[in-house]
Amino acid sequence: MAEHTATAAGTAPAPPPAAPPGEAATTSRRRPDGEWFRRNGVYLGLVALVLVNLAITPNFASTGSLRLQMVQVAPIIVVSLGMAMVIGTGGIDLSVGAVMAMTAAVIPLYIGYGTLGAIAVGLIAGVLSGALAGSVVARIGVQPIIATLAIMVGLRGLANIVGGQIKSIRDPGFRELGSGDLFGVPWVVLVAIVVAVLVWVLMSRTTFGRQLMAIGGNARASQLAGLPVKRVLTTVYVLSGLLAALAGVLLVGRNQASDPATLGRLVELTAITAVVVGGTPLTGGQVRVLGTVAGALLMQLITYTLVAQDITNSVAQMVQAVIVVLAVYAQVGTRKRRRSRA
């Protein structure tokens, strides 16, 4: 399956064409070497953690448990996928948490226009914030981390001003979104799945995806190759904002409440971790969609395990730190031998 994740190395599901010219075209199939780990480390980690839980966590092997994990991780997956695309361009988006808050803030104000109306407004808020970040980064050339950091601070404040204190959402539409399901699959999960598929297609099948990764790989060269660098960059941040907003919508549904002050706090770090653990390099040029999903699941399982074992907060944090490093190390560890290339 890892084969199917989009990478700058342009993986198509089809096997590469017949041996090209040059006798060098001998063995190029992947043996379980560093590269292989890079691609699959996160899945191994995931499997390992599942096994651990099956062993130690009471009634882990239940549909209820599965459902809970999925429902809780869904919003994280959605944000992380947006983040993954931004990171693919070599950028980063710290504003996602604040965007979620902003979305949560506007929903109660427009709930009058019905569920969909409110959702639409919420998403627009995300798009606008993304557009701001995008143009500041792409057109003015401010470094992504600082641009999005500023937006993160300001937007959170704005969200609080607009939204005020926490408000319970009694709207049936949101209740359905948060707790209802279709053919036994919770809506939030469905949304996450759809988003994942769309992003995967976008990254591995479309011009946009290829251009995005080229820009992440060498912006200057991409520009000389006539790629619409600025447009692509801007779009990426808009998408990130949109997905963050969508995650916000899902959470409002889950919580039956809108709380701009706390919603999505520190989610940017969780998302980045999920992306990196998923095997997408922070240097850009690659986007591992499936890996990102797996990474988010991994983070979710870690926290669940720690809570289920009733580990105290302090220890939990330390354990989490160690696991994260190990997870990433599993991927890069074997790559060490490959020396830096001139």
Partner: protein, 334 residues
């Protein structure tokens, strides 16, 4: 303190005025102008500074700030300077220094933390400005570093929560605790109060899990969900603030159980939403933590200026909302 516990609109005017529980200072032991070494000032027309600890997005904070502002207006304070430390100790220190630099003649401080305000307090002392701390007690010396403390007894709140829980379960129960944020002494006190009381009085209550919900509704919900999943026979949840309690309600619902009956829920604060839940039967008890410090704070300052003796601790009487009185008392909730 019971931070991040927002609720419906923060009005402080209606109901729930604070009443002191233990304020009587044995003669000669209270704090006076002489002891504190100050000149009396007339609060009317004076510049008074209020340093709030956490964002007003929390219902408790909103109500607290509001009540201070209202009272200041009421008694005709010259100018009320308000700062908010956004839960950052260092910011509160500079906030207080800023207030002093701006010429505040008296300070009301809601400390971010019990320790570490020393430099700020020292600055106030140097300027001969009395500091009245509310809702959280600092570990410095009363009547020297600061004037006095007005607030609730958080440990007591924990104890009363345990009592309420026992009443609610009326027998054996497996209890999960949703802790407040770590490193926060309100969390510690509300935990120890509850735990000690349970050990002392209610052996039939078994505490099966203690996980932090950071005083947030969403976090409270997801942690509660995880606890209920991994430990299905949990049938009582003690949340150290209303927000986490309301989160727990959602969690219980999404676990397909009935909050208030299948799983008993008790929390501390007395926000409108929680009391409403109590009215709706989804909740089993709310211990109040009264945020309306305005009147008591200013009257205390006034007494002090009038030369009266001020005791070190002015502990306020917190109400309790039960399924029975909830409906009637709803108006008092903030």
């Amino acid at each position: 303190g019971e931070t991040d516990a927002p609720a419906a609109a923060a009005s402080s005017g209606d109901g729930g005025a604070q009443t002191t529980k233990s304020a009587s200072a044995p003669a000669g032991e209270g704090c006076t102008l002489e002891k504190y070494g100050l000149e009396a000032i007339d609060l009317k027309g004076a510049k008074v500074g209020f340093s709030q600890s956490e964002p007003d997005t929390a219902a408790f904070r909103a109500a607290e700030t509001q009540s201070i502002k209202d009272e200041a207006a009421k008694i005709g304070v010259g100018e009320l300077l308000v700062t908010n430390a956004n839960a950052q100790l260092t910011k509160q220190i500079s906030d207080i220094q800023d207030l002093l630099n701006q010429g505040a003649q008296a300070l009301i401080v809601a400390p971010v933390n019990s320790d570490g305000l020393d430099p700020a307090l020292a600055a106030a002392k140097a300027k001969g400005v009395p500091v009245l701390t509310i809702d959280r007690k600092v570990t410095n010396t009363a009547c020297s570093d600061y004037l006095a403390f007005i607030g609730s007894d958080f440990e007591e709140q924990g104890k009363r929560a345990a009592d309420a829980m026992a009443t609610a379960t009326g027998g054996p129960a497996k209890v999960a605790i949703l802790l407040g944020s770590s490193g926060n002494n309100v969390t510690d006190l509300r935990t120890s109060g509850f735990v000690d009381q349970v050990e002392a009085e209610y052996p039939e209550l078994e505490i099966v899990a203690q996980q932090t919900g950071d005083f947030e509704r969403a976090k409270g919900q997801s942690v509660a969900e995880q606890l209920l999943q991994s430990n299905p026979d949990i049938n009582a949840i003690y949340a150290e603030n209303d927000e986490m309690g309301l989160g727990a309600v959602q969690a219980v619902l999404s676990a397909g159980k009935q909050p208030g009956t299948d799983v008993k829920i008790v929390s501390i604060d007395g926000t409108r939403n929680a009391v409403q839940a109590l009215v709706d039967g989804q909740y089993n008890g709310v211990i109040e933590s009264n945020p309306r410090f305005g009147p008591l704070a200013f009257s205390t300052l006034q007494d002090f200026m009038d030369g009266k003796e001020i005791p070190e601790d002015i502990i306020i009487e917190d109400d309790e909302y039960t399924p029975d009185n909830a409906e009637a008392e709803l108006a008092n909730a903030f």
